[in-house]
């Protein structure tokens, strides 16, 4: 069984398009949640979102920009950042041992919706000939592999809000069990379209707009009303630890465990049992007990159900220890990135390790008796010696994914 290192990371997010900006904003408690000003906003009841400040023309030629959905563009840029960050240069023979695993909830939502609008409203005679290759859910992963000639496994996972945590977990196992040496793994999401915002509005999990819109998402707070949709992508380079050490790569941390379970109960209602089983499974694979986790990046969506259930799941596994682990939901600042959430939050967790800083649940002001753990309300905690961190991702559909990363000490 091989050990797996993280040797590169890249991100596009509502609070920064580099890992540095992203974490600086998290540590400062800065929110990317704002009122949206798109032309359809007036037809929405809830007019807030966490948009990424991203212009395709800054990154791609006209032709490439035109033929990729916004979600695919995010993934491409995040992957390029991660690849560059890792310093990897592969010989042709090594490329058959390198692959791409990405997660996405709704894939090319922007292109799909724009195409339907042209068809149903403008009644065009033909759709753009590249519509199919733009909207297929594996477009982002495939283009990343094509760009670098990576010939190992290239798969796309779709398990709603846990999609990218699943992609990273499965990529970790692929390297651990010897099927690949290097994996680009992460996820992407961009669905702030009229149709999607209306759909989310209807299901009733979106936060109501607060007087200060940036504080609308308040995880674990008694006055929480739900999440704010966000967009972005994060990609990590996973590499066999031996290989990373041999080439003298910078190592952010070591992936230690991955828990993957299904609630098998309800399509939206979270389950303590399903979540707790996923947390336990990740701890078991990492061979660590409840005392071994120093920070939990919670799923923390700020829905009434999630935060109460997640709190009970953590208590079920960690017992008394649950009360002394700092837990935060960074969704309070970057919103809910759905298919990209797991990857973005794993990046947040790994950067917390590196910078010895626990990011806060920035908007938690009213304690809830049902959520009685330490959620790091308000401000970040600096100078904390974190060794092992855990990131929770729980999804509609009931697919739970938990990842554990440990700080790497040269041995």
């Amino acid at each position: 069984m091989r050990r797996v290192a993280i040797t590169g990371m890249g991100i596009i997010s509502p609070i920064g398009n580099t890992c540095e900006d992203f974490f600086n904003n998290l540590a400062a408690g800065r929110s990317g949640i704002r009122r949206i000003s798109t032309d359809f906003a007036e037809r929405l009841s809830i007019r807030i979102a966490a948009q990424a400040d991203f212009n395709a023309n800054d990154h791609f030629s006209k032709k490439i920009a035109r033929t990729m959905d916004r979600a695919t563009q995010f993934a491409q840029v995040a992957a390029s950042q991660a690849w560059q960050d890792s310093g990897l240069q592969l010989a042709d023979g090594e490329k058959t041992r390198a692959g791409v695993y990405l997660g996405t909830g709704m894939g090319a939502a922007n292109t799909l919706e724009a195409s339907y609008e042209q068809l149903f409203v403008q009644k065009v005679k033909r759709l753009h000939p590249l519509t199919v290759v733009m909207v297929m859910n594996n477009a982002a992963a495939s283009l990343i592999s094509i760009d670098r000639g990576l010939k190992g496994p290239c798969l796309t996972f779709s398990t709603a809000c846990s999609s990218s945590a699943v992609a990273i977990g499965e990529a970790f196992r692929l390297i651990k069990h010897g099927y690949a040496d290097i994996m680009l793994a992460g996820g992407t999401e961009s669905l702030l379209t009229f149709g999607n915002l209306m759909s989310w509005e209807s299901i009733g999990t979106l936060a109501l707009e607060a007087d200060d819109p940036s504080t609308s998402c308040r995880p674990f707070s008694k006055d929480r009303t739900g999440f704010v949709l966000g967009e972005g992508a994060a990609v990590l380079v996973l590499e066999s630890l031996d290989r990373a050490k041999k080439r003298g790569a910078g190592i952010y941390g070591e992936v230690m465990g991955y828990g993957s379970t299904a609630d098998a109960e309800h399509i939206t209602k979270p389950s303590v049992e399903g979540q707790a089983l996923a947390i336990k499974a990740a701890l078991e694979e990492a061979c660590i007990g409840p005392d071994g986790i120093d920070y939990i990046n919670a799923h923390g969506t700020a829905t009434l159900a999630n935060d109460a259930v997640e709190t009970r799941s953590i208590k079920k596994v960690f017992g008394r220890r649950a009360y002394t682990i700092p837990i935060s939901s960074t969704k309070s600042m970057h919103g809910h990135l759905l298919g990209a959430a797991g990857a973005v939050e794993l990046v947040a967790s790994v950067l917390a390790l590196r910078h010895r800083t626990v990011p806060p649940t920035s908007t938690l002001t009213v304690p809830d008796p049902e959520c009685d753990l330490d959620y790091v309300p308000g401000n970040a905690r600096t100078g904390i010696d974190l060794k092992t961190v855990m990131s929770n991702s729980f999804a509609f559909g009931g697919t739970n994914a938990v990842l554990i990363v440990r700080k790497y000490k040269n041995d």
Partner: protein, 86 residues
């Protein structure tokens, strides 16, 4: 705008291609469009000129061919109303 000017603009708006190299004699091959690019280009032409380019019925080797086909189809397909009624 003349047909050629409109085709040229279509190109420059959609591709990074040096303007000085764009002339009617240039072959589509030498521009470096792959099969998907060609389909996309035909689609853009249809939109720009409000015509329908019949599948497989046109041979386009050079940009001059493109001009000829577009002009021919525009005449054939944009039949004035009074002639339609006749």
């Amino acid at each position: 705008m003349k047909t050629w000017e409109r085709i040229k603009k279509l190109f420059l708006d959609n591709y990074e291609f040096p303007e000085e190299r764009l002339c009617p004699e240039v072959t589509i091959e030498s521009i470096g469009l792959d099969s998907l690019d060609k389909i996309e280009f035909l689609f853009a032409l249809e939109k720009e000129f409000n015509i329908k380019i019949p599948d497989r019925e046109v041979t386009l080797n050079s940009l001059q061919d493109v001009i000829s086909v577009v002009e021919r189809l525009a005449v054939e397909q944009h039949i004035p109303k009074e002639r339609q009624d006749a």
